[in-house]
């Protein structure tokens, strides 16, 4: 639920509770709203994002990567890649930031209920998909079998690698397949190769499966071909796109995507799009 102030660009204060280093460049930040009323009522969907504001530095859109079931708290996985995120990485527990949102459509998880779930992530794409995956685990009874494929170029770049590794104990008992793979790392002891190369290990039924993907456009192209050939229902294939969502509310125009007949704002109409929306926008991926 979007709780805005009179001014849609105004923010809510949030306190940083914990910061975990995930990789060399990415860390996980746990925040809590300062205002108890906001903390009580703030809801979000997996795949939605917030605008995080560091006064004096600027605002950045960050997708939420925690489970939507845990209320009043949320986690953001942030890569240190610019002026603002560099400042965020210097935050200490107890520090305050500004948050507005959540924005975007998010994954339509209601439609996923009763189906198997396949999550495919590459690189930083694991951040929004962790939210979907944790949602499914927290609502385990609503889903069939679950498979998550997490890939990165190198082992040290694999996001949430340890967290997923630790889940392997319960995974088998819960019909969850966790596949982690690297594409370029010669020293990586585990699986190697792109997501498409491990699809044979997915324990889902293509005919009754929802797919959530996040990664670079090249991955989408490969996966789309594979999924459609393998008989997955295109209506349940969803991807999330990255753009520069400066305002988050469809005003500033930086995240516009598409061509003349399907002109969209990634922040408002997306960032999650289904298979048919993607193939209707020529040249998008």
């Amino acid at each position: 639920m979007l709780i805005t102030k009179d001014n849609i660009y105004d923010t809510h204060k949030c306190r940083l509770l914990r910061k975990y280093e995930l990789t060399e460049h990415e860390s996980l930040f746990l925040f809590r709203f300062e205002d108890p009323e906001v903390a009580q009522n703030w809801r979000y969907l997996p795949g939605q994002f917030v605008e995080l504001s560091m006064l004096g530095y600027g605002e950045v859109p960050i997708s939420i990567c925690s489970s939507a079931r845990r209320m009043g708290f949320f986690e953001l996985c942030i890569r240190n890649a610019g002026r603002v995120t560099d400042r965020i990485h210097k935050l200490q527990p107890g520090d305050i930031v500004g948050i507005r949102g959540p924005y975007g459509n998010g994954f339509p998880v209601d439609q996923f209920h009763g189906r198997d779930l396949l999550c495919v992530a590459a690189g930083l794409g694991m951040a929004p998909l962790r939210s979907v995956f944790l949602y499914a685990i927290d609502n385990r009874w609503l889903f069939g079998n679950i498979t998550i494929i997490n890939t990165a170029r190198y082992g040290k770049e694999l996001l949430f690698q340890k967290e997923l590794e630790a889940m392997k104990d319960i995974a088998t008992a819960e019909n969850i397949a966790i596949i982690q793979s690297t594409t370029r790392d010669p020293d990586w002891p585990g699986l190697k190769g792109r997501a498409t190369e491990h699809m044979d290990k997915a324990n889902v039924d293509p005919k009754n499966c929802a797919v959530a993907m996040c990664g670079p456009p090249a991955m989408y192209r490969g996966m789309f071909n594979y999924l459609v050939d393998a008989g997955y229902d295109p209506r349940y294939i969803f991807v999330t796109l990255e753009r520069r969502m400066k305002c988050g509310v469809g005003k500033c125009g930086h995240c516009n995507i598409g061509t003349a007949t399907s002109w969209k704002y990634a922040c408002k109409d997306g960032p999650v799009f289904d298979y048919y929306a993607i193939i209707s926008i020529p040249g998008l991926i």
Binding site: G56, Y57, D86, R87, K90, I96
Partner: protein, 273 residues
């Protein structure tokens, strides 16, 4: 919220050095005459600022060094190397430092010997001059403040941002953008005058065009290879300018741009001289 200040005794203010190589001293003058200079001098400690202070050191240990001027003598080069060694952040201040300045106008036309002969004849000097070059040809530069001279608001924005541990996002769009917002009529379209607005980086709020004077390009070409000299040369040709005029005009402040020669060549052919 700032990172915890390490234990410091005495003066904990950030240390600043202001240095000049070869230039007109206008950038330092601009820095020294911003309205809030006293506020700045309270927030930072000027370790070196020869133009204003006799308590200056050449290459003091500083957090940020502003360097104005081009490298035009061997001594400049030595000083620049020293400055870089003693500075955490090095800022190129102004056109000479960023782009080589007007002294690079003859770049590609006359070499240093020819320049020297033209001004000093056969007289020998004890000091060695060099072909003027931007400082980025010799050392790593952390930030650029373009302009001849730089604008007050950009200097203030940089210093304020520096004080909280960041830097302003550099502009990457041309003067035209600010000119339209200022409501000036376009003198390039209307009168066909050689306005360099389309290829020069914004920040001056189209100061000169506001006075009906075509842009001479003192802020230097738009960075990130988005200064389209070739397109503008085509436009200028259509407006009736000669190849020589176009080349000269664009090179006043842009002769060190890595693309200018290639782009002009594609439209105008080789040098006509």
């Amino acid at each position: 919220m700032m990172t915890i200040i390490e234990e410091c005794t005495g003066d904990c203010r950030p240390r600043v050095g202001v240095y000049a190589l070869t230039s007109c001293y206008g950038c330092q003058l601009k820095l020294a005459t911003v309205q809030k200079i006293i506020d700045i001098s309270n927030m930072v400690s000027f370790e070196s600022f020869y133009m204003l202070s006799s308590a200056s050191k050449m290459a003091a240990d500083v957090d940020v060094a502003f360097v104005e001027g081009s490298v035009s003598t061997e001594r400049d080069l030595e000083e620049l190397m020293e400055i870089r060694k003693h500075s955490r952040i090095l800022v190129a201040l102004g056109a000479c430092s960023v782009n080589g300045g007007v002294q690079s106008w003859a770049e590609g036309e006359m070499d240093h010997d020819a320049l020297h002969k033209c001004v000093y004849g056969d007289s020998k000097l004890t000091m060695q001059g060099l072909q003027a070059t931007p400082i980025s040809k010799h050392v790593d530069v952390d930030y650029y403040l373009p302009g001849c001279p730089p604008e007050e608001d950009e200097i203030m924005y940089f210093i304020s941002a520096f004080l909280i541990g960041t830097f302003p996002e550099p502009k990457d769009y041309p003067v035209c953008a600010e000119c339209r917002l200022a409501g000036n009529p376009c003198i390039l379209i209307e009168r066909g005058e050689p306005c360099l607005g389309p290829v020069i980086v914004a920040g001056c709020k189209a100061r000169c065009i506001g006075f009906d004077v075509p842009c001479v390009g003192c802020r230097g070409p738009v960075p990130h290879e988005t200064a389209w000299f070739d397109s503008l040369a085509q436009t200028f040709l259509r407006k009736g300018m000669t190849e020589k005029q176009i080349r000269q005009r664009m090179k006043i402040f842009g002769s060190h741009d890595p693309n200018i020669e290639r782009m002009l060549h594609s439209i105008l052919g080789g040098e006509t001289e």
